[in-house]
């Protein structure tokens, strides 16, 4: 029987880590993810886990130590947010190029500057092309479930890529909600043992990792990384299937909420999906055919699948919780619209930048977007596709 609990998103992440029982956790405190290494240290101090906790002096060293630990042949995990991830940035690319399936809990927060400790997705968007698998989570349950599935995906021999599980800082990391936990032994069995083929601590077969890789080989190595990301798509679905067998909870690349017969649709990630579902229900009760596509798997990007899922609607709004400052629109918008274009989906699609620096996202804001979409659906006229939601003045 699963265990019913009430936990914050950070507690849920820490408990998933406890059940995974990695060999090494290296982390540095930063709001709002600080609690994860804090809770985890308690597990270490009380001997509940076998993990060596490396209380590093910075996030750069956190990721460096995770790389060292994973290359050594161990399972390594970390948690961070915002500037912590920015400080890791150099090592984020190196982790994926070394094909090390490190798992990170990223509690999304606005990247400085100016300094702001609240939620948006500018941290995650900064590493979207770094070769990490990126899973987004609407609530504590999804943050937990995604972490339980993470190693099976990342360590698969066709993948071997690091993976980050994102959730919204404070909004879900610090909110206590109901959650269904899986029993320890079931998680242990599901996650399985890590058996790397080559690793530094294998004295019988010493190996050199992280070479100078020049013109003759780097291109081919990058292609292998790109292929691994393509391979990850099937693995993500397969792991989700096994997870559903264990828990009854079903996951895919994205969640379609009342999208099947929808005429207008919003695309968003993380906690905003919860607010949007509430609004969709309200609109549906008034006869308005609103729907939602909540992206769970952002990298690899399920381009074809998203384009297909949106092909029947009359207007789409993509909500970006990070501005790309490029005079054209947010990253998710660019990804979704280019996916639609190459898949010959001509549905009018607009972008809303929202929630920057923790600006509250209200049901009425979302309702306003659906109202805009109704007009666009009627006229087919977009005017300005690069819009804002919840911006003053």
């Amino acid at each position: 029987m699963s265990i019913r609990e009430r936990l914050s998103g950070n507690e849920a992440a820490a408990i998933a880590m406890k059940q995974i029982n990695p060999d090494v956790v290296a982390a540095f405190p930063i709001t709002p993810s600080t609690e994860i290494p804090q809770y985890f240290s308690t597990f270490v101090s009380n001997g509940t886990v076998d993990t060596e906790f490396v209380a590093v002096e910075s996030e750069h060293s956190a990721m460096s130590a995770c790389i060292g630990a994973e290359a050594a042949g161990g399972r390594a995990m970390t948690a961070t947010s915002a500037n912590g991830l920015s400080f890791m940035w150099e090592m984020i690319y190196i982790a994926s190029s070394m094909r090390l399936p490190i798992v990170m809990s990223l509690v999304n927060r606005a990247v400085s500057g100016p300094l702001n400790i609240h939620n948006d997705h500018s941290d995650a968007m900064g590493v979207r092309d770094a070769g990490w698998i990126m899973l987004f989570s609407e609530n504590n349950q999804e943050a937990y479930d995604n972490l339980v599935m993470a190693h099976r995906i990342a360590e698969h021999k066709d993948v071997l890529l690091p993976l980050m599980v994102c959730q919204d800082g404070f909004i879900t990391s610090h909110s206590i909600e109901n959650i269904e936990l899986i029993e320890d032994d079931k998680v242990k069995e599901f996650v399985g043992k890590y058996k790397p083929e080559h690793y530094l601590l294998n004295a019988k077969e010493p190996i050199a990792m992280g070479p100078l890789d020049l013109q003759a080989y780097l291109f081919e190595h990058k292609k292998q990384q790109a292929q691994a990301m393509i391979n990850a798509k099937q693995v993500i679905l397969d792991v989700a299937k096994d997870f559903e067998k264990m828990t009854g909870r079903s996951y895919s690349f994205f969640e379609e909420y009342k999208l099947e017969d929808a005429e207008i649709a919003i695309v968003c990630m993380n906690s905003t999906a919860g607010t949007t579902k509430f609004v969709v229900d309200e609109l549906r009760s008034n006869g308005i055919k609103a729907g939602l596509l909540k992206v769970r798997v952002y990298r690899p990007f399920p381009a074809e699948e998203i384009a297909k899922a949106l092909s029947h609607v009359k207007a789409v709004a993509v909500l970006d919780k990070a501005d790309s400052l490029n005079a054209a629109g947010g990253a998710l918008y660019t990804d979704v619209t280019s996916a639609m274009y190459v898949n010959k989906n001509q549905v009018p699609t607009v972008n809303y930048i929202y929630g920057i620096g923790g600006r509250d996202t209200k049901g009425d804001d979302i309702k306003g977007v659906y109202e805009d979409l109704q007009k666009i659906a009627q006229t087919g006229n977009i005017e300005n596709p690069y819009r804002y939601m919840g911006l003053r003045g």
């Binding site: 060999d23 090494v24 290296a26 076998d50 993990t51 060596e52 490396v54 209380a55 590093v56 002096e57 910075s58 750069h60 060293s61 460096s64 130590a65 995770c66 790389i67 060292g68 630990a69 994973e70 290359a71 050594a72 042949g73 161990g74 390594a76 150099e90 090592m91 190196i94 070394m98 530094l200 601590l201 294998n202 004295a203 010493p206 190996i207 050199a208 990792m209 992280g210 070479p211 100078l212 890789d213 020049l214 080989y217």
Partner: protein
């Protein structure tokens, strides 16, 4: 690596101190040694080797060591056989960009040895000044010009910073006299439990401007002038391993090197005097530290 480079003898001697049956995981900071020993698909290292970036050999290796501890405890690794952890970084990757990661790893007490091969500038990128560059040296970012005669700051004393971390073993050494000093210190550092640090002067013929066959003489002059004293600090107690009966004047060390050429121009005698004063003061400080830390 270049002919006359001081770094290869350092790597060779340090690893020779590893016992025959012990395995090592070596971490390299980006730099001359790393880029010349591990170009895909070849490696010059027979033990396991890992390179990730410039500033983090210490933190990368601390992760490897933590995994070892954890996996050994859990029975995930064979019970027999010992693995040792050794990092190599130049002065750029150690004194400067890597100082934070080094300090962190040393303070946390990972069972490892960090070896800095100090050639006194960023040689891999083309001889730019570092905080290990001696005063007045001509480098590509402190060129000896008509207004500013080279680097105007004194070099950082990294071994003392490491002593400030209260490590079980810190030593300063050099490849000299059949490498006895270097070998013995490497052995002590590898087989002393906890975080240990070796600072090894490793001359660079390109950056320093000496004939390539002069490496060993340059090393000898660095020691005989007390520019680079050989000493070790065991649990906080200083021990000077060699005290020249007659300390040579610093000119002997400076003269064969092109980077100090401008110091020998008429009118620049003050520079040599100032350099000598600093060498003398540092040597005296070391003698004092030896006395103070060994008092009953």
């Amino acid at each position: 690596m270049c002919a006359g480079c001081g770094a290869p003898p350092v790597a060779r001697m340090v690893l020779r101190a590893l016992k025959e049956n012990d395995h090592a995981v070596i971490a390299g900071a980006t730099g001359c040694m790393e880029v010349s020993t591990f170009i895909y698909p070849y490696t010059a290292w027979t033990d396991s080797f890992v390179h990730t970036a410039f500033e983090n050999a210490a933190s990368t290796l601390s992760g490897v060591e933590a995994a070892y501890k954890s996996m050994k405890k859990q029975g995930k690794l064979p019970a027999d056989g010992d693995t040792k952890f050794i990092a190599f970084g130049g002065d750029g990757g150690t004194y400067d960009i890597g100082l934070q990661a080094l300090s962190g790893a040393m303070e946390r007490g990972h069972d490892m040895v960090y070896v800095c091969y100090d050639n006194g500038a960023y040689m891999n990128t083309g001889i730019q000044r570092s905080s290990a560059t001696p005063k007045f040296a001509d480098t590509t970012t402190t060129p000896a010009g008509s207004v500013i005669p080279g680097k105007m700051q004194s070099r950082k004393d990294l071994a003392k910073i490491m002593v400030g971390h209260h490590l079980p073993y810190v030593a300063q050494t050099i490849a000299l006299n059949n490498f006895k000093d270097l070998y013995e210190k490497a052995e002590k550092a590898i087989y002393t439990e906890g975080a240990c640090f070796l600072n090894v002067l490793a001359p660079c013929p390109r950056g320093w401007g000496y004939p390539t066959d002069m490496l060993m003489q340059i090393n000898k002059l660095a020691v005989e002038t007390c520019y680079w004293p050989l000493y070790e600090v065991i649990d906080g107690k200083y021990k000077i391993n060699y005290k020249p009966a007659k300390k040579l004047p610093i000119e002997e060390f400076l003269r064969p090197q092109k980077r100090f050429k401008h110091m020998f121009k008429p009118g620049n005698e003050w520079m040599i005097e100032e350099f000598q004063k600093e060498v003398d003061a540092r040597w005296q400080e070391l003698l004092d530290l030896e006395e103070i830390t060994n008092k009953e």
